[in-house]
Amino acid sequence: MVFITRKMSAKVKEETGPQLMSFPHVILREAIAFQLLAIVLVVLSLFWDAPLEQLANPLLTPNPAKAPWYFLGLQELLHYFPPLVAGVLLPTLVVLGLVVIPYFDINIEGEPLWAHRSPRRLQIYLGVFAGLFVLLALYDAWTVLVPTVLVGALGLLPYFNLTSNSRFLKFLGSRPLPWWVMTWFIAVALTLTAVGTFFRGPGWSWVWPWS
């Protein structure tokens, strides 16, 4: 069997460690996982009630009308960008991006982003970052901008601090480019979803969840 995983050389590895029979070792663990999950679900279902509002009324629009929570990130984007961009283009690009990940990831050995401290790479990084910053600021898309700046700054940190002894910095310094792109995506998606769920009120204005 051929395996090329992160931090391995591209040469073929025959096996990685001892093997176990699926029956009973996998079956047993899966059964235990299923039982634990069933217990958690049942206990939660006893104490948490599924929401049910009034009968649907097309004449009575709630303000704000919110999509299910996993689409609230998109709804938050719709607040900033034209519908064609936020509602169609970006989701399509995200799905396409996810699909092509395994085919475009040429950095198969997981080389750190700043492995060679290439000045050219730094220029491209800063250029993309500045471009994103200006674009997002132009559209007042603050809830996208904040996580972008945070992750962008974290990504830049290891470039200057390669000799640091901090475990966190060492960890950041060992991350390859795809890791940073995905982390940026998750940070933005989580922020948008959280903001859409808890911090948006009438007219999609900012509200505090406790007020």
Binding site: T16, L20, A33, L44, Q54, P83, V88, P102, Y103
Partner: protein, 248 residues
């Protein structure tokens, strides 16, 4: 203890019967040969590998997120079938059925809670599973295609959850689907026809409810089952889960 020995003996006797042997066609799974037979002699298990790497079984390797997603799908199928006994995909009967679940049906609230909770949990589990696989490098060759199947399963999960959202026919359902389906109409050229096809009209009404019901209870679950089967089978065909040499 005596009872345990007695039970054990009866079980052994049962295993020796002609009927038992005609069903399982193997002895007790005590040797590696019979353990292999237990996997590939079973319709449900035969798509799994007969042997797995010990490392891939550690909790940190997977957090069992794929299994948990699948278990949630099983829970959703079972509770979903039970809910179908009490549900009419009609306006406004659908909403009345929700009230019946609360006030009339024994354990109806629990049943609905379980279904709703498992649905939310499945969306979380599938997303988390995908991100975890990404960070573990599980999408890399030879697993590329299975990653793509996984993206398909993520989309099916989202559509399943979304179509189910309309079925209670309350304000929450109606307006969430309104917000979502309005976005579709912004797709160039095809937007309005797709929305019309999905809703069975220009507004969210009886036709939309029926279409979402059929999508939710028949078409999307079938798509999910098919993709899940390919997803599991490909793990075996691609040589098992990705494991790392190191544990960082």
């Amino acid at each position: 203890m005596a009872t345990t020995a007695w039970t054990h003996e009866r079980l052994e006797q049962l295993r020796q019967t002609r009927v038992w042997r005609s069903i399982f066609r193997r002895g007790p799974a005590r040797t590696n040969r019979t353990r292999s037979l237990a996997v590939f002699g079973n319709l449900g298990l035969h798509m799994l590998p007969v042997k797995v790497r010990e490392k891939s079984l550690s909790v940190r390797a997977t957090y069992y997120l794929g299994s948990i997603s699948f278990f949630l799908f099983v829970v959703l199928t079972l509770t979903g079938i039970l809910l179908m006994f009490y549900y009419h995909p009609a306006v406004p009967d659908a909403y009345r059925d929700m009230k019946d679940l609360i006030y009339v049906v024994s354990n109806g609230v629990f049943l609905r809670n379980l279904h709703r909770l498992a649905a939310q949990a499945m969306v979380v589990a599938v997303f988390w599973h995908m991100f975890h696989v990404f960070y573990r490098g599980g999408y890399k060759p030879p697993h590329e295609f299975n990653w793509v199947v996984g993206v398909g399963l993520l989309l099916v999960t989202l559509f399943l959850s979304y179509t189910g959202y309309l079925l209670p026919w309350d304000q929450l359902a109606f307006w969430a689907i309104t917000v979502g389906t309005n976005i579709i109409s912004y797709v160039p050229v095809l937007g309005r026809p797709i929305r019309f096809l999905l809703l069975g009209g220009h507004i969210i009404g009886q036709n939309a409810l029926l279409r979402f019901y059929v999508l939710h209870c028949v078409i999307l679950p079938l798509a999910a089952v098919g993709l899940i089967a390919i997803h599991f089978w490909r793990i075996q065909k691609d040589g098992g889960l990705t494991v790392r040499d190191d544990h960082d």
